[in-house]
Symmetry: C2
Subunit: 339 residues, 2 copies
């Protein structure tokens, strides 16, 4: 497999990105990496060529999308950016997967504009496998589509089922929908209409609406929400976990200074369990290809995890499963109306 | 002041609600409580009449709205519910404030339908004073209005400024808007239009969009968001804090069992700082009267805090300030266009 990695994308690019690529090599021996970005910068960070030349090649891209560039405008203006060049390589069949820790909006827009969507997919969605107190839960969408229609959310449920079945190897998976109350009638217009679509689809084992206070108790294998809300959930959890761990450390240092050394490994161990850098990247589901979105503040370890998990995901042939799942829709509906 | 308390509303009603009312008496000696609900049930829980008769009276309401009743339908069908009777007492000027831990949607609907809105207010909004790592932040709306228009969010900012100025005694307050990115162009249609309104209003010191990961760092005194998103923030934080504290306790018990007794007070102290029951109720801003919404799972301590803070809030005359603030709008705009 050939994986293109955006060497210029992310808060810690290019140093940590390229370090992560080098760290990954031993773990993805059968795969090739294509680093996309400013060639001389990349060469400078890669160092000794004998270490990487059998697995890494470089494709020059003279421009880079900044983290705060407006996505669609950046894609229009920066035609030679690493993100644009990378998604073109994928569209031309020159790489099998694209991975970026850069501007998420621009990356999603580029994947959607330059690579094609799978047959029947209306909008791609970002799925994050979220570490909760009761095990991993798949949350979709966390920011690809911040103005979705009910049928988009319905498709996210079907695509997420395909993903969970293939990648997490669950033979059966339940689906919940984020709302402000458990009852079917609770929520805004989008949520109420989506609730109806999910209830009506016999292919989906829908547990109903899920309140955010229960989200971390893992009330279903898959949780669906609009991209704005999903992004809020993702970022708030991140900020709260980080803040709480810091506060706990500070509180111990203040009230039990002699205990700091005892307690540090406990907190560190817990924090690691909730640390995104252990969890690889998030797939953009619905695109005809493999697109993996990394956290903007990814360090080398996060990039390495993402590359390793990308190769795993590619072997699962998720896109075939998604296509089958979506195509079974019309059959499913005919089946339902006959039966 | 006369405060009506919904004796039948909340997960722990009527026991904890009535216990909270009794506990509050010593702290609100100049005020009268009106307990609304099933009279014989209330009398049974109140016990010895000599303890409460100088401060508590009872108004009988034979029906109760269940926590999962559809709000508007409940208000139409259960005309003799404690919530309906209570808001009628307020509309008739027989009480000065209404407090409920019951069905939030029904309580908001009842306040909106039976009491009037302040002049110029388009929709009421729930404001929560949120304990963050860097001090309290006012978050509005957390669930009164889950399908708001940009001008509703704009008004929430103005009403929250009035609240923070009067109740938290801040002479100046900054306002932020929840979005998925800091740049003005980031967010859905509602957020982008609201961002523009807030930037254009010279009365508002707008710090711009706030990402949820920064929310708990207190990037502004006031944070505005739509009621669906605000409810997600409120409930997710609650669930996450609770889950993390439990996990930390379990982790200590597992890896350092001899340390449990040392760390228990540290964790408990931290948890208390983030415990809603210390923080009184949340005001429903924009209604012509004082409406205080308590957490559905309020215990006696939470009800006591809410009643004490209700009397404080009433003395601050927030509604006059809100009316002034909103009425200064047209003047402000004329001023701007002249200047």
């Amino acid at each position: 497999m050939r994986i293109a990695l955006d060497a210029m994308g992310g808060d810690n690019a290019p140093g940590e990105i390229i370090a992560g690529a080098l760290d990954a090599l031993d773990h993805i021996k059968d795969d090739q990496l294509v680093l996309v970005g400013d060639e001389s910068t990349i060469r400078g960070h890669l160092g000794d060529q004998s270490r990487w030349q059998s697995q890494i090649s470089i494709v020059h891209a003279p421009e880079a999308v900044a983290m705060d560039d407006p996505p669609v405008e950046a894609m229009r203006r920066k035609r030679k950016s690493s993100i644009a060049v990378m998604t073109e390589l994928a569209a031309d069949g020159k790489v099998d997967a694209v991975v970026s820790a850069g501007n998420t909006g621009a990356f999603v827009a580029a994947c959607q504009m330059r690579m094609r969507l799978l047959p029947g997919v209306a909008r791609p969605g970002i799925l994050v496998v979220f570490p909760t107190f009761a095990g991993p839960v798949a949350l979709c969408d966390v920011g690809a589509n911040i103005a979705p229609k009910p049928n988009h959310l319905h498709q996210y449920a079907l695509m997420a089922i395909a993903y969970v079945t293939q990648v997490l190897q669950q033979t059966h998976s339940t689906v919940g929908l984020i709302s402000v109350g458990q009852e079917n009638a609770k929520g805004n217009e989008l949520v109420r209409a989506t609730n109806q679509l999910l209830r009506d689809d016999k292919r989906i084992d829908f547990v109903g609406n899920v309140e955010p206070c229960d989200f971390l108790k893992r009330p279903a294998d898959i949780i669906i929400c609009d991209g704005f809300v999903g992004n809020v959930i993702l970022k708030l959890t991140e900020g709260l976990a980080e803040g709480l761990f810091k506060t706990i450390k500070r509180e111990i240092a203040r009230s039990k200074p002699d205990m700091v050394e005892y307690f540090k490994p406990v907190v560190d161990n817990l924090y690691a369990k909730h640390d995104y850098s252990e969890y690889g990247g998030a797939p953009l589901l619905g695109v005809d290809g493999t697109c993996i979105i990394c956290h903007g503040s990814s360090n080398a370890r996060a990039i390495k995890s993402a590359l390793v998990s990308t190769t795993k995901q590619m072997r699962f042939d998720i896109n075939r499963k998604i296509t089958e799942q979506l195509q079974s829709g019309s059959l499913g509906k005919i089946g339902n109306s006959i039966g």
